[in-house]
């Protein structure tokens, strides 16, 4: 390693010297507004406060009254967790000096750097961070089926009330019934999530309604993540219980007869868990922040600033990044973005080549799990985050990995909201 003085080397990241002299304070402290308090939004808000030593004012706009974690939410269906176990309050964010406003944004005026909220008020910003998550796109399905599918079937793909309601449908299903679950074509939130859900539903059925079946109707040509691991887990733990149908896009549904038609076949179901195709959160699409294809957003992966509008940064599942839409990625992006915003406000260049870790665990039962892990590094040529060497998956599911997964959940919840 090159010789560096103690001050430069040792203070690696703990103190960023001399920066705040440069922060323009003409109009008081710079103000950052964060829209959405999921993993990405909560994390960016907290780290903006911490890493600026409280010198950036942060307001978070979030319509929900508390946080419910999508990771681990499938275990509520399996029965080994309750919804309270995966719910957290936003109180600690307030203790970091973050202003929480329970509201929705109705309009973004990028020119005036101003938001309009659903309570009629306006809010100005120096920098805006959108962490809008996903929205569901039923338009194609509704057109082909002639139904309003959102009214008929639960997705439970945003953890909360729907998770609990789907659990009740599962409990009400007769033994010998079919729990069908549809998987949209990539990209969608949490690639291994639907297959983990199949495990958790089977875990519940095996104990309570052993003659029942899980039917996975996948629009993709094959299991999209941890394929060999899921196939092994299904065969070993739930033999004969999980039926998997690839290339099976939804074509028609008859809610009265409880029949569904896919690309090749027709199936009967008792409960249908319809996970629809997804887009970036509507707030981004409705305000001209989508890319040319119109479904997701493009940003500069050094600062997470939108390619469509200055001073607006976008994070997490809303991005067309090619990265898995995971909670760990969302929080890692949030930290790079918080750091970049602080640098930019101080008139300094952000880290030109960020690097971060991602891991995603899937539970195959109440107490066995497996993972996929990768480091991602900024590639200056393509200007995208690319997988670094060495990533991979577990050799097989195990109890040890479930202990790691529990520790992961405690730590990431605490990191974002503690």
């Amino acid at each position: 390693m090159k010789r560096r003085s103690f001050n430069q080397l040792m203070l690696a990241g703990l103190i960023l010297p001399g920066m705040w002299r440069n922060i323009a304070s003409a109009g008081g402290a710079p103000r950052v507004v964060v829209v959405g308090a999921g993993f990405a939004g909560a994390t960016v808000a907290k780290y903006l406060r911490l890493w600026s030593q409280g010198r950036v004012e942060v307001t978070v706009i979030e319509p929900g009254s508390g946080f419910v974690s999508c990771p681990v939410s499938n275990l509520v269906l399996g029965g080994s967790r309750q919804i309270q176990d995966i719910s957290r309050s936003y109180d600690v964010l307030r203790q970091h000096g973050i202003q929480m406003r329970q509201a929705s944004v109705t309009q973004i005026d990028a020119g005036k750097r101003q938001l309009k909220l659903d309570d009629g008020t306006h809010l100005g910003y120096d920098k805006l961070v959108l962490a809008p998550g996903i929205s569901f796109d039923y338009s194609h399905l509704n057109a082909v089926t002639g139904l309003d599918l959102q009214q008929h079937f639960l997705h439970a793909w945003k953890a909360g009330a729907q998770t609990v309601a789907l659990k009740q449908q599962l409990q009400a299903m007769p033994d010998g019934g079919v729990f069908a679950l549809t998987v949209p074509a990539l990209p969608y939130r949490c690639p291994p999530g639907p297959y983990e859900r199949a495990c958790q539903v089977a875990y519940y059925l095996k104990q309570h309604k052993p003659r029942s079946k899980v039917l996975v109707l996948d629009a993709n040509p094959a299991i999209t993540s941890k394929r060999a691991l899921f196939e092994k887990a299904w065969a070993e733990l739930y033999p004969g219980m999980i039926e998997y149908q690839p290339v099976s896009e939804l074509k028609q549904i008859d809610p009265a007869q409880r029949m569904v038609r896919t690309t090749f076949d027709t199936f009967r179901f008792d409960v249908l868990n319809l996970i629809p195709p997804q887009t970036a959160g509507r707030i981004a699409l409705d305000n001209g922040l989508a890319n040319a294809e119109g479904r997701w957003c493009d940003v500069d992966y050094v600062s997470y600033e939108s390619k469509q509008a200055q001073h607006i940064h976008i994070l997490g599942d809303a991005l067309d990044s090619g990265l898995p839409k995971s909670a760990h990625i969302a929080t890692s992006e949030a930290k790079v973005c918080a750091s970049a915003i602080i640098d930019i406000l101080a008139g300094q260049a952000p880290d030109p080549a960020p690097v971060f870790a991602n891991t995603c665990y899937s539970y195959v039962s109440a107490d066995e799990a497996m993972h996929v892990a990768n480091v991602y590094r900024y590639d200056e040529k393509s200007r995208e985050m690319k997988p670094a060497p060495g990533g991979g998956v577990s050799k097989q599911h195990s109890a040890g990995e479930a202990r790691e997964a529990r520790s992961w959940a405690s730590n990431i919840w605490h990191d974002a909201l503690g």
Binding site: M1, R3, R4, S5, F6, Q8, L9, M10, L11, A12, G13, L14, L16, P17, G18, W51, A327, H328, T331, S332, K335, V336, S339, D343, Q348, A349, P350, D351, P352, A353, P354, V355, F356, A357, N358, T359, A373, N374, V375, P387, A388, G390, G391, G392, V393, S394, K395, Q396, R403, E404, R406, S407, W408, A409, S410, N411, I412, H414, D415, G418
Partner: protein, 115 residues
Amino acid sequence: MRIILTVLLSLVGVTPLTMAGQADSHIRSLAASCAACHGYEGKSQGETPSLAGMPPDQFLDRMRHYRDMDDDGSVMNQHAKGLTREEISLLAGYFACVVPDGTACNTYRQKADGQ
């Protein structure tokens, strides 16, 4: 090379301090992405070991071990292979000095100054 770079940078008004600032934020964000498993500032809330205040030699030893072994399907093996040597060295200092007055940080400080 470093001298030339420094001269060039000071000509365009960028001081080596800014350079250090960049390296710092690079490591700080990277270290923060370990928090999902090792806890905020390396202080774990669960079973996964804490990294805060870890003696740098031990940290380097563990990371070299993870990096150099064949893929055994463990998360650390898969993460360590994606990092550069310099990143690993700087992470050792970062986590040692998250506890600024601890022995680990003092050791690291003495080493870095003596280098």
